[in-house]
Structure formats: C-alpha cells, structure tokens
C-alpha cells in the first residue's frame, strides 16, 4: 500500500554540506553556459567527477571503509540538489554513485566490494546499466542476453541498447538470463558486472535528437566473464533490479531536470520592468509546483534514511516530477512568445530549445509513465 508522504526536514549535518558544495560549483562552473549546463545529469566530464570525488562527494552514502563518506540519504539529497540545480556535469559518476555502488554494497561479496567501491568513490570506475534490449523495453523480464556457465566462469552473448554512457564507462551491470527461457519471465535472471574492455564487446553510441551522444548499443559476442562477474544471487536478478530501480526513481533528479531553464527565465523576468502579468503568475505557479515536489522527494529521502523501501511512493513522485519537468519548457515558451521574447538572451532560447527537445525522455528513462502508473495502481490495490 501507498504510505502518506509527510513533511520532512533536512538535518543540520546534511545542510552543512550545502555551502562548501556551492562554493566549489561556483568556481568550477563559472564559464559553463546555461545551455550546456541544461544537460544536467546527462552532462559528462570525468575531470569534474574526479574533482568532486577528491572532496569526498562521490559515494557519499558508502561506508568510510570503502572510501565513501559514510553519510546518510539526507546528505546525498543536499549534494545532489546543489549539483542538479546548477546543471553540474555529473553523468560520469552518477549511475555508480546512485545505483551501482549501493547495489554492490548490498549484494556484492567482500571481494567485489573491496574492488569496486573504492574505485567508485575515487571516480575511477564509471558504470552503466544494461537493462533494455532491442526487444525488451518496458517488458524488462523478456531480456534475451544470456550468460552460460563454463569452466572459466560465464560465457556472455546478446545485445543491450539505450545504455547510457556505455562507450565512456568502465563497467556495466547487466540483467541477463542465466537459466530458463524468455517464457520463464522473472525466474532465471541474474545480474553480472561486465568489464567493458573485454574482447568480444562492441559499443556504438547512438546520436540523440539534440546531436549529443550518450546512449549506446552494446553487442556481446562470446564474451568470457570470470566466475566473480555474478553480483548477488544467481536467479535473483529481478528482485535486485527492482530494488535498484527504487533508488533510481527516488532522487531529486526527477524534479530538477529543467531547473537551469527556470533560473535562466527567472533572470530574464528580473531584467524586465514588469512586476505583474501572466509571466509573473506563471513564475508563481512553477515555484509552487517546485516547492511541493521538493517536499515530496525529501519525504521519500526520509523514508530511505529510516530504512524503508518506498518503491511505489518513489514511482508516484517520479511521474509527477517528470510531468513538471516536461510542462516547464512548454509554459515558459508560451510566456516568452507572448511578449515576443524581447531582450531574451540567446542562452535562454538555446536552453529552452534543448530542454524542449530532451523533455520526452524525462518520462521514458528509468521506467515509462505507463509502467509507473501500473505500479501505483498496484499500490492502490487495483491489481
């Protein structure tokens, strides 16, 4: 069942991280234009990720023993929202920090933790997530890539697609079939960690509609994986992926994707002399939506910090958050057009164009709107 979302506050220890993170960002992003920052957590800069890691802000929730900061979900929330609000290029380490690290900590062997986690915390190991396949999108349980046990470990064949950052990552955690057939659905699926430098792997970036390259197709042709490539339980892949997706969907990144645009537009409004009118009313609407959505993600963070697993609640916030992210460029475009965009800087228009083009992906990545609503319906007791 769905649990009520209560008002949560950030503890002082978490809040204390805000000023230093902000100071660091002010310095390191001073020359980056808004339309580049608009890439938000799709912007890739390995040097930036390492600089962030050097300050202890990658792997924040991982234990100190593995090089993490040993802090809680609130601390991650503060750092994440500061990074996302200005559109810092966090993509290189983001997936490892958000999903792969916590997954390895939870399901990995001691040896796997000792190997991967310190590298993640130093931003030396970048991860991608191998879920979708050409014939397996929303119907994730139908994956056909297969790892077969042999004397040297696992022999992997198959293909992944839409894999974000595969061509610039070191490792992929892939959901593959280790027994049974597609008809067996959730049974017989496992997760494996794939070193992307192994022979037999071909990675081709796919250019997106804005001209950027981030997602990829990845081919596995008789790739020999070592015995310890398996992460977690053989056959436990579905449960692990489900738990991982709860992390994936629970952060402020499902609300903040268009914030750089909102701030650029705010600067435009401030540069004008109008103090009332439709633009100001729209600003009030967007601030109000942002305020409540932030409170909702903070409430999810509280549930995570208290050891809960708010998967359905996170799906609910994500669906609402991505609707806001998608509405924002539509409404701002209308307001700008109403006064002929007089005096709008090229930066604002470029940022608007980028967000407008990217916005359909906001409700596709990490589970489509229709799939999320199916989960919510289950939470309501309808299925």
């Amino acid at each position: 069942m769905l649990e009520t979302l209560e008002l949560a506050a950030l503890p002082a220890e978490a809040e204390a991280l805000r000023a230093p993170v902000r100071a660091f960002l002010r310095q390191s992003l001073a020359d980056v234009p808004a339309d580049v920052r608009a890439r938000s957590w799709m912007g890739f800069d390995a040097g930036f990720s390492r600089a962030l890691a050097a300050r202890g802000w990658v792997g924040i929730t991982l234990p100190g023993h593995y090089g993490g900061a040993g802090l809680d979900a609130y601390a991650r929330f503060v750092v994440a929202e500061e990074l996302l609000a200005v559109g810092a290029p966090v993509s290189a380490h983001w997936i490892a920090d958000r999903q792969s690290g916590p997954l390895i900590l939870k399901y990995g062997t001691d040896a796997q933790r000792e190997f991967y986690l310190p590298r993640i915390c130093r931003a030396e190991a970048f991860f991608c997530i191998g879920m979708s396949e050409p014939n397996s999108g929303s119907d994730l349980a139908s994956v056909a890539s297969r790892a077969v046990r042999n004397e040297r470990g696992w022999l992997l064949n198959g293909q992944k697609i839409w894999t974000t950052n595969a061509y610039r990552s070191h490792y992929m955690i892939a959901l593959v079939r280790t027994s049974g057939e597609s008809a067996d659905r959730h049974r017989g699926l496992s997760q494996v960690i794939i070193d992307l430098s192994l022979p037999g792997i071909t990675i081709r970036p796919i250019r997106d509609l804005t001209g950027d390259e981030h997602f990829c197709e990845v081919f596995f042709d008789n790739v020999q994986l070592a015995d310890d490539a398996l992460i977690g339980a053989e056959g436990g892949g579905w449960e692990q992926v489900t738990a991982e997706l709860a992390f994936e969907r629970s952060g402020p990144e499902r609300v903040y994707s268009s914030l750089v645009l909102l701030d650029e537009w705010l600067a435009y409004l401030q540069s004008r002399t109008q103090t009332d009118g439709p633009g100001i009313t729209l600003l009030g609407q967007l601030i109000s939506q942002l305020c409540v959505l932030r409170a909702m993600t903070l409430s999810i963070t509280q549930k995570l910090a208290e050891g809960g697993s708010p998967a359905v609640e996170a799906a609910l916030v994500k669906d609402l958050g991505t609707s806001f992210e998608q509405q924002l460029p539509v409404l701002i475009a209308d307001a700008l057009a109403a006064d002929g965009a007089r005096g709008a800087r090229a930066q604002l228009i470029k940022t608007l164009a980028y967000i407008t083009q990217m916005s359909p992906s906001f409700s596709l990545r990490g589970g489509t709107r229709e799939i999320l609503r199916g989960m919510i319906a289950r939470g309501l007791g309808l299925r």
Binding site: L2, T4, L5, E6, L7, A9, L10, E15, E81, A85, V86, Y256, L259, L262, D263, L266, A267, L269, Q270, T275, D276, G279, I280, T281, L282, L283, G284, Q285, L286, I287, S288, Q289, L290, C291, V292, L293, R294, A295, M296, S299, L316, D319, L320, E370, L372, R373, G374, I376, A377, G379, L380, G381, L382, R383
Partner: protein, 332 residues
Amino acid sequence: MTQDLFGDAMQQLLAQHSAPARVRDIERGADAHALWTALEEAGFLDALASEAQGGAGLLLPEVFSIVFIAGRHAAPVPLAQTLLLRAALGAAAPRGPLSIAPGCLIDADGAIDCAQVPFGRMAQWVLVEVENQARLLPTATARVSAAGGYGSLDADLRWNHWPDTSITLAAASDWTTQAAAMTAALMAGAMERVLEMTTSYANERRQFGKAIGKQQAIQQQLSVLAEQVFAARLAARIGFDSTSTMAAPQRAAIAKERTSAVAPEVCAIAHAVHGAMGFTEEYDLQLFTRRLHEWRMAYGAESEWRRRLGVAALRSGHSRALDIVREQIMAC
C-alpha cells in the same frame, strides 16, 4: 502523538455527528446545534486558543489532522474559521459559529456587502476586513442570502450600515491568507476521501466480467488521481508548517495554490470513474466534489495565489528558483 490523539478523537466525533445523512440534513436547513455542541464540549474549537484563555494551546501544525479530518467528513460547520478566530480573540470570542469573509465592498450609502462567505448561512459572526481593520460583525443584523448552488452553505451578507455591536481584532493580520491555509487542509481531507471512494468503487463495479479497476485505462486515471491527492496533502501540510498558531503567508500560498490547482482534475477523474452513480444526490461523492469546487474559489483560487507567489519571488532578489523555495518559502 498529541496530534494523532486529537485526530482520532475528531474522527470518532465526526463519524457520529457528521455522517453523510446528517451533512445533507444540515445543508437542507436543519440546525447544526448537536454537531457544534459536540465540537465545543470536546474542546476542538479552542484547540488553537492559548491555555491562559482556556484553550488547548496547540500550534498550527498540531491541528492539521483536526482540519484535515473535518474535510474528510465534509463537516458542515465553520470549524476551521472558528479555530482561527478563537485563537485571535481568546475570551472575547463569541461562542457560536464564526466565519471569515473573503472580501467586502462598501457602497456609497455605507452598506457593507460580503459575497460568497463560506458557511455564511450558519455563521453567527463574520470577520470583515475594511481598510486594514478587522472586525467581527453579527450576522443577526445582516441580510443573509444563500449564495452557492444546491446544498451550499455559502451566503452573501449585506449590512445596510455598520452594526451597533462589533468586535474589533487587536492584531492586524491577513485573514484571507490564514483562511486560505485552513481551506487547503479541508480540501486535502476531502480529496483523500474522494480517492478512497473512487478506488473502492473501481474495485467493486464489474463490467466485461471483471472489476473496472482491472482495466488499464481506469488504473492510469486512478494513478493520476492518487498523485494529485498525495501532492495536495503535502502542500496542505506545508501551509500548516509554522512555529506559531498562524500560517506563514508564503507557505499558505503554496498550500492554497496547489490544492486549488489540482481540485478540478481530482473531481473530474472521480466522476469519470464513478459513471452515472457518482452523479446522484444519494451517492456521497457529490458532497465532496461540490465542496472541492467551492473551496477552490474560497479565499483565492490558484491564479490569485500564483500571482502573489510570483510577485514575491521576483522581489526576493534570489537568482535561483531553488533558493526561493528553500530560503524564502520553506526556510530549510
């Protein structure tokens, strides 16, 4: 904990005195004396009044569940307005139902016109703000005409001249804003009830050999309904996030803007799923959806609050939307 105890007690009281049949009776003109007396005797009306004044001395966040539950039961009395005014007036507060006029006009002859006063049909005193002076005026000397649609408790009030007796409130305050925060909590409660009713109905009503809730098209709509209701509840909570008995104006604005903005869609989905059944007088859904539309308009709907929030945001001087939310509105 205190809050939950209050909430539980309120729940029990309203289950007895504000059952749907009773709500309809009162809407048709039966007196609400039994319900009002029960609320008075249980101490709910003085929950926000200080202990020195004989109240419970609670702070605004602690009475959220009381107001929310009043909304869940479509309680046909101005509990929320009375809570506020008794806190402000203490022992000087008159005992009967009190309400707050959303606005008023004074014509050339000095007559005072207050349109669409929530609960105006039953309020004994109504707070009227004229030129930054807030006064409680007795409705006994006003012309009271029912203002809303079928079943509405709203009324237009007109005093031909200033009444001989009135009670002046010492502290200046923006009472529309305070009443807006209260109304947002009522709306969130009503929406929660609407979500429950709609979900149960979708699980019970069978077509094509199965519950309609098994149809994906219905599931998608109910998910959207749940999203809006969850957001509205948290927004209403924000409106009550305060360290005193009064709402912080910008948080009140957030609460009323969000609850008002989602109310039409909440009502539309609930009615769509209920089909013709939800369209009957006999079925309880209308008690809640009618109120949601009324309360949306009471004390400013979404556009008015958006305008105020936008003006404040622009004046704040912050260059980031996140800072406006964190520092100016939420202070966290």
